[in-house]
């Protein structure tokens, strides 16, 4: 049964501009970023990401309300990621598979790899999209709060400077979180065809590593603190304390250069594994 009559307008040739690999990669990145937030997909795909966005903004809204009422401002901006671990982990677990596993599941990869981009371009564009999304989740609320604090500051330029400096630190902290978490989520999702598995794997890693870190912290003499190096959020928090001179929340942690080294090592390993995966994946 023929679905539609073909009105033969004829095939047109294209003699226009052809942009190179860079434009292709940028469009892949933007497409991925949109997909992570459910844009360009049916409404069902928008629910979870925007729910998490809302959750991320709630504390900030509350703080702004407090600020406008009582004038008290937040001392530091850098607690944001660790206090909101769960929504960030859920976002990562739910959306990294949308970004990566989906293309594998529906075998769309040959359509990409038969185009003038490299396999590594594809992997890195997806990684960049996830990192950007994670950063936006953290930085967005901070930005709004900072705007609010600047707007309500009346006569204290010192305060404004302090707020801005703290905001900058908060952003830096956000960058580290976005990179490590994004890389972790993406590399796990790259190995799963079924999205549900990828989601479970990311949450599983998060749960297990947190639980291991927690369990080890029960060892006397703080012997178990090395466990913190292996759980993403505690690792990043230690990095925050050490590198950004952040305020210590967890007294058991003893931040040191080890946190920086391990963070970088993890990111490097994740990216290399990701690239290898897409180099050798069957089409």
């Amino acid at each position: 049964m023929s679905e539609s009559v073909i009105y033969d307008i004829g095939y047109q040739r294209y003699d226009g501009q052809r942009l190179g690999r860079r434009s292709a990669v940028v469009s892949l990145y933007l497409h991925g970023l949109r997909g992570v937030f459910g844009l360009g997909r049916p409404a069902r795909s928008k629910v979870l990401p925007w729910l998490v966005v809302a959750i991320m903004f709630v504390p900030v809204i509350v703080l702004i309300a407090v600020m406008s009422r009582t004038g008290t401002q937040v001392e530091r901006y850098d607690f944001y990621p660790i206090q909101l671990q769960a929504p960030l982990a859920i976002f990562l677990a739910a959306q990294a598979p949308e970004l990566l596993s989906r293309d594998q599941r529906y075998q769309v990869l040959p359509l990409y790899f038969s185009r003038p981009i490299r396999r590594s371009d594809y992997a890195l564009a997806k990684l960049a999209a996830m990192v950007t999304a994670m950063f936006a989740l953290i930085a967005g609320p901070l930005f709004v709060y900072w705007l609010g604090s600047i707007a309500t500051i009346s006569h204290h330029p010192g305060d404004a400077r302090h707020q801005t400096a703290q905001f900058a630190l908060g952003l830096a902290n956000g960058v580290f979180h976005a990179i490590l978490l994004g890389a972790l989520g993406v590399v796990i999702a790259a190995f799963a065809r079924r999205r549900a598995f990828a989601t479970a794997a990311v949450i599983g890693v998060y749960l297990i590593t947190s639980a291991v870190a927690g369990a080890l912290s029960g060892l006397p003499n703080n012997n178990g603190r090395f466990g913190q190096l292996f759980s993403p959020f505690t690792l990043l928090d230690g990095l925050r304390v050490w590198l950004l001179h952040g305020k210590v929340i967890d007294e058991n942690a003893v931040p040191s250069a080890a946190y920086g080294i391990v963070s970088v090592a993890f990111v490097v390993v994740f990216v290399l594994v990701l690239l290898r995966r897409y180099r050798t994946i069957a089409t």
């Binding site: 677990a93 079924r194 989601t199 927690g214 006397p220």
Partner: protein
């Protein structure tokens, strides 16, 4: 109970790669136990509760519970099973039994061993936790099996339950414990352990036991009902 279905399910669950993944988690528990023994740790809670009951148990139960029937339903191969004259209740019972046994094997037994390794002089505590874990395994599996029949996104819903309901909310709202499988496990463990052992259960036994029985029965009924009306669609959405 159907022996053929049971055999096939065992083999599918414990096929090579998945067994490695499933075994990985208890191995981590045992390694932690060794670390505790070496470091003379005595915070039993951290190891056996925070890791054993709150992380290992739900994750393994989730993987096994949603995988034992859910995988077949999702990729459509369940049609071969549903087209046989085996009653749906028998299918559900068999799958449930297999899943429960496997989960208990991969959670309660390692929990017991971990307790014995880490805290060698507190055997009764280890037994208590192991029994609590075993009961929790059965309840979790019932829930996740029912979920896998009721919805396509059983894994996601299960994760939300574990992470958000039992993880996040339970630490903020104390009443939630009544509907938390981990609390049932802990309350049973507390009942078995010595009076002096601190097991952080905030639901009493008198509430926990009836609740968990209700949950098992309701979940099983739900699973059988949903499976009886199950329609296999042509292509996954």
């Amino acid at each position: 109970m159907n022996a053929v279905i049971a055999r096939i399910t065992y083999r599918a669950l414990l096929g090579r790669r998945r067994v490695l993944l499933l075994a990985l988690l208890p191995v981590v528990l045992l390694l932690l136990a060794v670390a505790f023994r070496a470091g003379n740790g005595d915070a039993t809670e951290n190891l056996l509760d925070h890791f054993g009951v709150a992380a290992l148990l739900p994750l393994v139960a989730l993987i096994v519970g949603t995988g034992v029937l859910g995988a077949e339903l999702e990729d459509g191969t369940a049609i071969y099973l549903l087209a046989t004259p085996t009653p749906r209740s028998a299918i559900v019972t068999t799958k449930f039994a297999v899943a429960a046994v496997v989960t208990v094997a991969f959670t309660a037994i390692p929990e017991f061993l971990a307790g014995v390794i880490a805290f060698p002089d507190r055997t009764r505590l280890s037994v208590a936790y192991a029994v609590g874990t075993a009961v929790g395994a059965v309840v979790y599996v019932a829930i996740f099996l029912a979920l896998s029949v009721a919805t396509r996104r059983a894994m996601a819903v299960g994760l939300i339950y574990v992470l958000v309901w039992e993880g996040l909310l339970a630490s903020f709202v104390s009443g939630i414990g009544v509907l938390s499988v981990q609390q049932y496990s802990l309350s049973i463990a507390k009942a078995i352990a010595h009076a002096g052992d601190e097991i952080p259960a905030n639901v009493s036994l008198a509430v926990a036991i009836p609740m968990l029985l209700v949950v098992i029965v309701v979940a099983s009924r739900l699973a059988v009902d949903r499976l009886s009306g199950y329609r296999i669609s042509g292509e996954p959405g």
